[in-house]
């Protein structure tokens, strides 16, 4: 099992979700996060005082999936979230040791 984590532009998250539903992903955890990378932050001005705001709002999507499904999930996220501009985000995959479904106690692939 793997954990797929994606950080994407907020207005792309609805596209990503729709595309993932098409390839059979039935659930995910989503958080509103902020961070920065190559995409510049911005300046805000309050009564003439300028503030450099480094953090850019993003959406983080986390999906625990069976090994066999991971490539398709990553591809799907890439296709749905890409605008070709700086700040499109990242997707990474990490190993997951175990998963247990709280309601049933099922573990392993049956729980994802």
């Amino acid at each position: 099992m793997k954990l797929v984590t994606a950080v994407v532009k907020p207005h792309k998250w609805e596209d990503v979700r729709s595309a993932l539903e098409v390839v059979g992903v039935t659930g995910m955890t989503v958080s509103e996060v902020s961070g920065y990378g190559r995409q510049k932050g911005h300046t805000e001005i309050y009564r003439g005082a300028e503030y450099d705001i480094a953090l850019v709002p993003k959406v983080r999507i986390e999906i625990v999936a069976d090994d066999a499904a991971v490539d398709e999930i990553v591809d799907t996220i890439l296709r749905a979230a890409q605008t070709g501009k700086v700040g499109d985000g990242k997707v990474w995959v990490s190993p997951v040791e175990s998963v247990v479904r709280v309601r049933t106690g099922d573990s392993g692939p049956a729980a994802v």
Binding site: E44, Y51, I53
Partner: protein, 447 residues
């Protein structure tokens, strides 16, 4: 009227001061209409997404500033100056910058400057309302230019048509005088006018990115409720102030305004409960405003029972009409069409049915007055709609081609608060990420 100065002075021993009671009420009423502008900013501000609430509020506040200045310079004169021909528009030079209006007129019911300022605040609200149709996607500078031009090209002429009554040597507008249509406080000039303009602007500028696909739900419904409350409060000045005196008519209008808000709320909630299964807070706020919109033209002509009927009709019809934009796919973002155009039509037309001579001397169809008044109401409503829509389409097109009216797609997605105003409404990252950067002018503050 200023021209009375030369003749009235030596002949009779009139009270040298203006009527203090009427003047006091009109002063208070004008202040009440003013608070409708921030009320509208809060009402609209809560409805948009968090990334554009400041821009929404700025559109209303910006319109307030621009429209009032333009009104004093030329708008009032266009609306209430002597008619230039055909009842279409007043003389723009006659009262330019309140020329010749400042001396006290003995025996006048109220100072003419006060009347003119009160009327100017109506123009402010009308322009502010249009902003709701094009939320989230317009350039602020172009909006301010639009606000000024629209006041001159659309609001002032329409106000002349319906609000400028002929008296003595003064010739007013065609709707109020030749046609004889009734509009107590602005069902045509304010509500149908802003609604038709909102539809035109929304159609020309196009839908927001993601309209109908992404959620665009109101970011703060408590603001919407507070805004609706402030609007209701201010609406007493709008309607009862239009009686232009502390009179029995003002009292009837006051209670009618209150009642139509109440029944508008109840009718909208009833539609929601049966259609969607739930009575919502957003529906309550919308129902109040729909009722108030519809009673605006009718408040001085119907009985309290009639006012309740107007509120019910507006609440129910507007609750259904707001669904049109999803069917027809035009992005009237905050339902200026569904509430103000439709509500304005409901109120203006219902005068033809519900006017009662016990209130103001005119009977509608249901009170045995025949269909005569109804026909006049339909002409006034149709003419306002057609002129406002056509003129606004042309004006928005002109500004889009010359200055650019709509923001870039990237800027729209990032949010107009940040891109246009360099501010965010809510500081949700207080722990970090903001570094005070002293610009070149203030650099020495560091030492």
């Amino acid at each position: 009227m200023p021209e009375m100065l030369s003749t009235a002075l030596p002949l009779v021993a009139v009270d040298p001061t203006t009527a203090s009671g009427d003047t006091a009420w009109l002063l208070a009423a004008a202040a009440l209409v003013l608070i409708m502008a921030p009320g509208l900013a809060i009402f609209y501000g809560g409805m948009v997404r968090a990334k554009s609430v400041l821009n929404m509020m700025m559109m209303v506040f910006g319109a307030l500033a621009v429209v009032m200045v333009v009104w004093i310079l030329v708008g009032y004169s266009l609306a209430f100056g002597d008619d230039l021909g055909g009842g279409l528009v007043g003389d723009p030079t006659q009262y330019a910058a309140f020329k010749g209006m400042l001396e006290e007129v003995p025996g006048a019911p109220y100072p003419i400057t006060l009347f003119a300022t009160f009327q100017g605040l109506f123009a402010v609200i009308t322009v502010g309302l249009i902003a709701g149709a094009i939320a989230d996607r317009t350039r602020f500078g172009t909006w301010l230019v639009f606000a000024g031009l629209w006041t001159v090209v659309v609001y002032a002429p329409v106000a002349h048509w319906i609000f400028d009554f002929s008296a003595g040597d003064h010739v007013g507008g065609w709707m109020a005088n030749e046609l004889g249509a009734l509009d107590f406080a602005g069902g045509t000039a304010v509500e149908i006018n802003s609604g038709a303009a909102g539809l035109a602007a929304a159609l020309v500028l196009g839908r927001r990115v993601g309209f109908g696909r992404e959620p665009m739900k109101p970011h703060n419904l408590t603001l919407v409720m507070i805004g609706a409350g402030l609007l209701w409060f201010g609406w007493f000045g709008f309607n009862a102030g239009s009686a232009l005196g502390a009179t029995n008519t003002a009292a009837i209008v006051f209670v009618n305004t209150l009642l139509a808000g109440c029944t508008g709320l109840l009718a909208w909630l009833a539609v929601e409960r049966f259609r969607d299964g739930h009575a919502t807070s957003f529906g309550a706020a919308s129902g109040v405003v729909a009722g108030l919109v519809a009673i605006t033209p009718a408040c001085g002509f119907v009985t309290p029972l009639g006012a309740m009927a107007v509120g019910v009709a507006a609440g129910a019809i507007c609750a259904v009409a707001i669904g049109l934009k999803h069917k027809l796919r035009y992005d009237d973002s905050l339902d200026v069409v569904g509430v103000h155009l439709v509500g304005g039509l409901v109120g203006t037309i219902l005068i033809g049915f519900l006017a009662s001579s016990t209130v103001n001397g005119v009977d509608g169809l249901l009170y045995g007055g025949g269909a005569d008044q109804l026909g006049k109401q339909l002409v006034a409503a149709g003419a306002t709609l057609a002129y406002s829509f056509t003129a606004t389409v042309l004006l928005v097109l002109l500004l889009e081609k010359t200055m650019g009216f709509r923001v870039d797609e990237d800027d729209e997605m990032a949010g107009v608060d940040l891109v246009i105003h360099a501010e965010t409404a809510y500081d949700l990252h207080t722990t970090g990420g903001a570094r005070l950067h002293f610009g070149p002018e203030t650099g020495n503050l560091q030492s």
